[in-house]
């Protein structure tokens, strides 16, 4: 048992750190760097940084050569750990390069790989992921956006929702129902869609935090050539599952919610020190530390050539819920003044307010707390799936 890099890993880390030192400024705030969603306000800066990374071989580290750097998952983890300590743009490319492009590589043709991957890695083209719908979030396979074959093309009509970055994305991977006469999981197909194509309309969603990172995307007879299909028609569910599996590789990203250290610092700042604070701070720290240790465990598995399994669901289940509880506790420290906005309290309070708001979102996004528990129960513990009476019925015979 040890926490040291192997010699190869240490060399890689030193090289990455030296490159970052040469090209970016080290952060001084110390915390995690926040959620991998961006409103797009830093687009120019993000694009410039991405091009720099691509030239140095730090974009798409695990993506196979000649498209990407052809590195190992552990190298990607090491780079992410190092980059997290620097002041660099974050959030524009995480979904595209973490989920969409691996899907294009795995299920697309050589022509797709040649056309899209390099530009995406260089940041010249931004990708989004169009899966969730008003009719299907947790029950993704209930989606209704329909694709109808029309000669060499497909005509797509319907609506997606919660699409991060759709308002600045150039392309997306799009899951569509192409055969409603088959059961819900069987009649789906995955496509590459040009977000600037006629009939695509992006409308921002204003979140309860007041910001607009997510969108609704409407498709009105959008023409997609059959050559932009990813995988066989009717095999879209399996393609989507492989996309969602790559999400697990993003292990240990962290949301940057208030930590036990933050809670303790704020308590001291407000002159509070009692048994309740001791109790809550210690319990928050136990979870903070567990998340760090769980990421070591995932890193160990990657380091030994393994792949983190469904047990990774534990991480987000702990982290998002704790963000909410820690924020409540901080606000309670202020008593009646806890009702004030950070804009009123001061800059030191921004993290508390962000955690309070965004923990709510993160308990839902990327697998809700409830879906995570289903994953643990069914895929780790081997308990039966939920009753799914709609599973084998043709989709167009289901009641909607």
């Amino acid at each position: 048992m040890d926490f040291n890099d192997s010699p190869e890993e240490a060399t890689y880390r030193a090289k990455a750190r030296a490159w970052l030192e040469a090209h970016a400024r080290r952060r001084t705030d110390g915390g995690a760097r926040g959620m991998a969603v961006a409103d797009g306000s830093n687009l120019g800066e993000a694009k410039a940084w991405q091009a720099l990374k691509a030239d140095a071989g730090y974009a798409g580290i695990t993506i196979q050569a000649p498209y990407g750097a052809g590195g190992t998952p552990i190298e990607a983890v090491i780079y992410r750990q190092e980059e997290g300590q620097f002041e660099v743009p974050f959030g524009v490319y995480e979904i595209g390069l973490g989920m969409a492009i691996p899907t294009v590589i795995a299920h697309g043709s050589d022509a797709h790989r040649d056309r899209y991957v390099r530009k995406a890695l260089r940041g010249e083209e931004i990708w989004c992921q169009l899966f969730s719908e008003p009719a299907g979030g947790s029950d993704l396979a209930a989606l209704r956006t329909k694709g109808v074959r029309d000669g060499d093309d497909w005509l797509v009509t319907g609506q997606k929702v919660w699409t991060s970055g759709a308002h600045y994305a150039d392309y997306g991977i799009l899951l569509v129902r192409t055969d409603p006469s088959r059961p819900k999981h069987k009649g789906l197909t995955m496509f590459i869609v040009d977000m600037k194509a006629p009939g695509v309309e992006v409308r921002p969603i204003r979140t309860m935090a007041g910001s607009a990172e997510f969108n609704e995307v409407f498709f009105d007879n959008v023409r997609i050539p059959d050559s932009d299909r990813l995988g066989e028609a009717g095999n879209g569910w399996n393609v989507a599952i492989s996309t969602l599996m790559t999400e697990r590789m993003q292990a240990g990203m962290g949301f940057g919610f208030v930590s036990a250290h933050d809670v303790l610092r704020l308590a001291r700042r407000y002159g509070q020190d009692d048994a309740l604070i001791t109790q809550r701070v210690a319990d928050f720290w136990i979870n903070d530390q567990a998340l760090k240790l769980l990421s070591y465990r995932a890193q160990t598995s990657l380091s030994q050539g393994g792949f983190p399994g469904p047990e990774q669901a534990v991480n987000k289940a702990i982290e998002a819920a704790q963000g909410q509880q820690a924020a409540y506790f901080c606000m309670d420290l202020l008593g009646a003044e806890g009702a004030l906005a950070a804009a009123e309290v001061g800059e030191h309070w921004a993290g508390v307010e962000t955690s309070w708001m965004w923990a709510s979102a993160m308990r839902i996004a990327g697998g809700s707390d409830e879906i995570l528990r289903n994953i643990i129960a069914e895929r780790v513990l081997g308990l039966p799936g939920d009753p799914r009476p709609d599973r084998n019925t043709p989709f167009n015979e289901l009641k909607h």
């Binding site: 048992m1 040890d2 250290h261 319990d283 720290w285 567990a290 240790l293 465990r297 534990v314 308990l383």
Partner: protein, 360 residues
């Protein structure tokens, strides 16, 4: 990065598991629970024969010369079997104290006996309320809540002396020792009050004012492995029942009310497991973070086992509350172990103290 036990350590643990599956069945646990023996001699003997009790004892003292990681890996299996044995008190505290701080003659006398299981060690480091006074090599006074105090042959305790507080070794089988067995919530975790009247004792030359704290940290980490092992067993028991018991036309494990309960057990167990692993590492290298790691391991493991034990009863429904159900073993053990090293708030204070020091 290798945050895992080695293949050899895993093989060692696997041997322990297979042996305990034979010797320490739930029936054996029940026999101890329903008797006043306090421990399973057969299980203790099996652990001695496997080399578990002497794993960290040097070879020249009758042990295997391995280390803390082997003890931790074995502790998990001991907990998984709910083995009613004084592993933490005897091997984790008493033998470790001798190994770390004992002089040659003390080591020579006691370590081989502890390693082969023919002597049982215990301690009074965690109970508080002890009032022992040492004068002219003899002690008098009382030690409260000594684990396995009736069953043990040797105790590690603290006593006041003219030269200050000393760590002492006291054989318990001679004259002048009175032992009073106490009724415990978990009869497989016996406690006793010991009274001493002019009993010969030897000072353990620690030369280290953190000696007691280090021993308690190490013991708390070993106990955490036992707790995580027991919690894992409770989860498996609940899972098995949830697959087999049918209600409203389906196995109850089909329903989210049960599935999510079991997932919550898993989340707490994995939280405790990684803390215990970190503790094992800290113990194996005597890391400066050992006090923090011990606190994290002890608190998270206590939480995990309590939760797993209580929700195992809940998953079983009414049958889980009967005497004949094995659910009670976990429920009792969880409560006993969570208090084995003092109140949880003291451990939390230690975490916050460490965080404050880091921030300063």
């Amino acid at each position: 990065m290798n945050f895992d036990f080695s293949d050899e350590q895993k093989m060692f643990a696997d041997q322990v598991r297979r042996s305990l599956a034979d010797t320490c069945t739930m029936k054996e646990v029940r026999t101890v629970l329903e008797s006043s023996t306090g421990l399973s001699r057969a299980t203790w003997k099996a652990l001695a024969e496997l080399g578990v009790l002497g794993a960290a004892v040097p070879e020249e003292r009758g042990g295997a010369g391995l280390g803390a990681l082997e003890l931790c890996a074995a502790a998990y299996e001991i907990g998984y079997a709910l083995a009613p044995v004084p592993f933490v008190a005897s091997t984790g505290v008493c033998a470790e104290a001798l190994r770390r701080y004992g002089n040659d003659s003390q080591q020579e006398k006691w370590l081989p006996l502890l390693a082969e299981g023919s002597a049982i060690g215990t301690h009074a480091l965690s109970s508080g309320g002890s009032t022992l006074r040492m004068e002219g090599g003899r002690i008098s006074g009382r030690a409260r809540l000594v684990p396995y105090g009736v069953q043990a042959d040797l105790a590690l305790m603290q006593a006041d002396s003219a030269g200050g507080t000393v760590l002492i070794l006291v054989p318990l089988n001679g004259a002048g020792v009175t032992r009073k067995s106490l009724m415990t919530l978990d009869p497989t975790r016996p406690l006793a009050d010991l009274t001493f009247e002019g009993v010969a004792a030897e000072i353990l030359p620690t030369g280290n004012e953190d000696a007691v704290a280090t021993l308690v940290d190490g013991a708390a980490i070993l106990l955490a492995f036992e707790q995580v092992g027991a919690a894992q067993r409770a989860l498996e028991m609940a899972r098995e029942y949830a697959l087999q018991r049918t209600a409203f036309g389906f196995p109850i494990g089909t329903y989210q009310a049960i599935k999510h309960k079991l997932a919550d057990m898993f989340i707490k167990i994995e939280t405790a497991r990684v803390h215990a692993y970190w503790g094992a590492w800290a113990l194996s290298v005597d890391a400066p973070d050992l006090p923090l790691a011990a606190a994290g391991a002890h608190l998270s493991a206590s939480d995990a086992l309590r939760f797993a034990a209580q929700e195992n009863v809940q998953t079983h429904g009414g049958i889980g509350f009967t005497w004949e159900s094995d659910c009670q073993f976990f429920y009792r053990r969880a409560q006993a172990d969570s208090l084995a090293f003092g109140p949880s708030q003291r451990w939390r204070e230690r975490i916050v103290g460490a965080l404050s020091a880091q921030a300063a």
